[in-house]
């Protein structure tokens, strides 16, 4: 019996799960491969358990290595078997969730649109390359994704941030109004964030119940995740086959070097399995997609599939994250506790305000955004600021409970020849797959943004009448944000870019990429909503090509 040939194989079920949904709904037969088991919300999401019901109070077992985002509540869902290597001088933390839905089960939910200020940045400031798309052609796809996902925000008319189609925003908390006054005095924006979290029932999904534990997964599907949205939608069509514990190793090619399927390792049996399709979509996340492509070496592609440009793995970018300022608001000392963080959301943001009138206003180019936070939370981490012990200390913890505030910067690194991915020549994981190796350091542009943000955020805090406690001594580890972009950049010139304007590789016409690896750099905005948007567009293009017989009969 001949092996089954699917219309499309989709590698990964995270944000790229949008691919499986889009393709299945367009009547394609799809095989989706996921490296771990299927997530079971009722069992795996322990979001309604209080810390005192957890064995290690939510701190986790100190003997078990965990990623910074891997909480006791989600232990076991993360990937630790697929090794990676940091080149000397690099300190990258590569976080991955192996169950279906991936990191999107616990994502941060901030969902701004990219705009022409991002797409045409090179034309504005002369650095690097423009994106091969315009906002005008992408905007309708954003609208369709926003209508599907449900984004809570407001229309803000800012040059850096195109507005979309929104459900009602998360309302401000006490400290938001206070900090907003400070921001106004300093002349920087302080506005509702765009959040993929349902402030009202939407598209058959219930409104948020505000348990405040989104980072442990949602048991009611009240924010977008593949687990509650794209995977069930794809399965409803009857055209999706979802294979779990399938760790994709490489793309298989035919005698012309075109994709004919993929090879994966079954996690349990450790056996290698081959599956075939007319077209392959890699939606495994920016880094894992690149890992797979670099490992897809053949006679046609000696340095990795679709790498005639030599750009595969290059141009790695990341968001620099860090606590730019923290302190407290004396106005709120001793006030009764308020449910400030029951949405577990960013609620507000300070969207990019730098280099808007003139791309060279600042000493750095481009711009960053800031996420303020504060108010009553869970654990009173501000205890470190309170001297002493005893009954006064205990009383002070209660007095300060509503007051702490902080600012997190999100600054894009610029592409640099020093920042790239390759395959370690020696190290392999337990499945025999050669390991991805990271070469990455922050550059001067993003570090100038970091310094800049520390000054501005301190100013905002003080202008709001707040007391300044300090700033982080250094930014978070590279990889912390999980917003990396760049190693499969899209662009019109096949000699300079891995993928074309549709996310299709220039070299291998039936190989498509549906994740952030195609974005030339990070921008000041988060990536998930744009991954969904570009995935929708890429998959509709793929369907047209299938219908026209471009990928075989």
């Amino acid at each position: 019996m001949a092996d089954k040939v699917y219309d499309v194989i989709v590698v990964g079920t995270g944000a790229g799960g949008m691919a499986a949904k889009t393709l299945c709904e367009a009547r394609a037969t799809v095989l989706a491969l996921n490296p771990g088991r299927r997530v079971e919300p009722a069992k795996d999401f322990q979001n309604h358990r209080q810390p005192y019901n957890m064995k290690f109070r939510g701190f986790g077992d100190p003997r078990v290595p965990r990623y910074h985002d891997e909480r006791e509540y989600t232990v076991g869902l993360w990937e630790h078997d697929i090794t990676y290597v940091n080149a000397p001088g690099t300190n990258w933390e590569w976080l991955r969730v192996k169950v279906t839905g991936g990191k999107c089960n616990f994502w941060g939910r901030s969902s701004p649109r990219f705009g022409d200020i991002d797409f045409k940045a090179a034309s504005l400031d002369g650095f690097d390359v423009d994106w091969p798309v315009t906002y005008e052609e992408i905007a309708p796809y954003y609208s369709r994704v926003e209508r599907y996902v449900g984004i809570a925000s407001t229309v803000q008319n800012r040059p850096s941030n195109p507005d979309g189609e929104y459900i009602p925003p998360m309302p401000f908390r006490c400290h938001d109004y206070i900090l907003q006054q400070g921001a106004e005095k300093v002349g920087v924006p302080y506005l509702p964030d765009r959040i993929a979290q349902l402030t009202q029932p939407h598209g058959g999904h219930p409104a948020c119940h505000y348990c405040g534990n989104c980072s442990s997964g949602c048991d009611s599907g009240s924010f977008f995740s593949p687990t509650w949205f794209t995977i069930p939608d794809a399965e409803k069509t009857g055209r999706l086959e979802l294979r779990t514990n399938a760790i994709v190793k490489n793309v298989l090619v035919d005698e012309n070097g075109q994709a004919k399927g993929v090879a994966y390792i079954d996690r349990d049996s450790k056996q290698e399995v081959e599956v075939y399709a007319k077209a392959v979509v890699l939606a495994a996340s920016c880094l894992e997609t690149t890992h797979i492509m670099l490992n897809s070496k053949s006679r046609h592609w000696p340095t990795g599939i679709a790498n005639s440009s030599g750009q595969l793995g290059k141009n790695l970018c990341d968001h620099l994250y860090g606590n730019s300022a923290y302190g407290y608001l004396p106005q709120l000392l001793g006030q009764p506790p308020r449910p400030d963080n029951i949405s577990d959301s960013t609620v507000v943001w300070m969207p990019r305000w730098q280099n808007l009138r003139n791309p060279h206003e600042e000493r750095f180019i481009r711009g960053y955004s800031v996420y303020p936070g504060g108010g009553c939370g869970g654990f009173p981490g501000y205890y470190r600021q309170l001297e002493g012990y005893g009954s006064d200390f205990k009383k002070n913890i209660r007095r300060y409970y509503p007051t702490p505030v902080g600012f997190t910067i999100q600054a894009p690194s610029l592409p640099s020849p020093a920042n790239y991915l390759d395959i370690d020549p020696e190290v392999k994981d337990i499945f025999g797959i050669p390991a991805l190796r990271f070469h990455f350091q922050w550059g001067p542009n993003e570090l100038m943004m970091w310094e800049h943000s520390k000054h501005v955020c301190e100013e905002v805090l003080r202008a709001a009448g707040g007391e300044y406690w300090g700033a982080a001594k250094q930014p978070e580890t590279c990889g912390f944000s999980q917003h990396e972009t760049g190693p499969c950049r899209f662009g019109n010139d096949p000699k300079r870019f891995v993928t074309n304007r549709w996310g299709q590789t220039h070299d291998v016409k039936n190989l498509y990429i549906c994740d952030a690896s195609i974005f030339p750099y990070c921008t000041d905005k988060t990536t998930t909503i744009s991954i969904l948007t570009f995935t929708l567009r890429t998959c509709e293009y793929l369907i047209e090509n299938l219908r026209r017989g471009e990928h075989g009969a």
């Binding site: 005192y52 908390r173 006490c174 109004y177 006054q181 505000y210 506790p337 009954s391 913890i397 209660r398």
Partner: protein
């Protein structure tokens, strides 16, 4: 009797607590510091009643217990003692081989220092003497030379006391942690929108 006066969902909650507690090693006090829960749902305590430390020696454990209750005392409501903080610290230290030498050294330093200053073990001092030792470690303007190790230990002990207390039920109740209400149903925004600068709030409660 308890079963008749409590609503079904509360009973289910109690059972869930008990199930969680059953997975924990031998805790007495910190298991939620709920008398009714103890009596109604948990298996009866062994006759001896005393907590058997997993990591600390009995003397070390008693020092940890005393320090925890000095850091978060039972004033204005339950403190570290009622929250079983020392049991939590013992359990976490038993689970964390990397931290064990540091923590143990700190406890032993304190006992040794007590001998040095007063020729008595720490637990043999009166409350005033114990407070005096801690004050020198805790307050910047009272720091003394050659007590760096003690200051480092005090910060560590304070950190773990805070961690243990404010992840316990009584501790979270003390600060009024909103997340103790598991499901809010709707968002509860700032109620002072006509006073955005928050300059005219009612006088502080604390």
């Amino acid at each position: 009797m308890a079963g008749q006066s409590v609503e079904r969902r509360e009973i289910l909650q109690l059972v869930a607590f008990a199930a969680a507690a059953a997975g924990f090693p031998g805790f007495r006090r910190w298991t939620f510091a709920c008398g009714h829960l103890d009596a109604a749902v948990l298996p009866p305590r062994p006759a001896s009643g005393a907590y058997q430390p997993l990591f600390f020696t009995p003397n070390e454990y008693a020092i940890v217990e005393r320090l925890a209750e000095m850091i978060i005392p039972s004033s204005d409501g339950p403190g570290a003692r009622e929250a079983g903080v020392s049991e939590f610290i013992d359990f976490m230290m038993a689970s964390d081989p990397n931290l064990q030498p540091t923590f143990r050294y700190g406890v032993d330093w304190l006992d040794g220092h007590s001998h040095f200053l007063y020729a008595k073990p720490f637990l043999g001092l009166d409350a005033e003497q114990q407070t005096d030792i801690l004050d020198h470690l805790a307050y910047y303007d009272r720091h003394r030379a050659e007590e760096e190790d003690g200051r480092a230990f005090f910060q560590l002990m304070k950190e773990w006391t805070v961690k243990g207390y404010y992840t316990s039920k009584v501790g979270l109740e003390q600060i009024g942690y909103p997340g103790l209400t598991t499901v809010w149903g709707e968002y509860d925004p700032c109620p002072h929108r006509d006073d955005r600068e928050h300059k005219h709030l009612p006088p502080p409660q604390i």
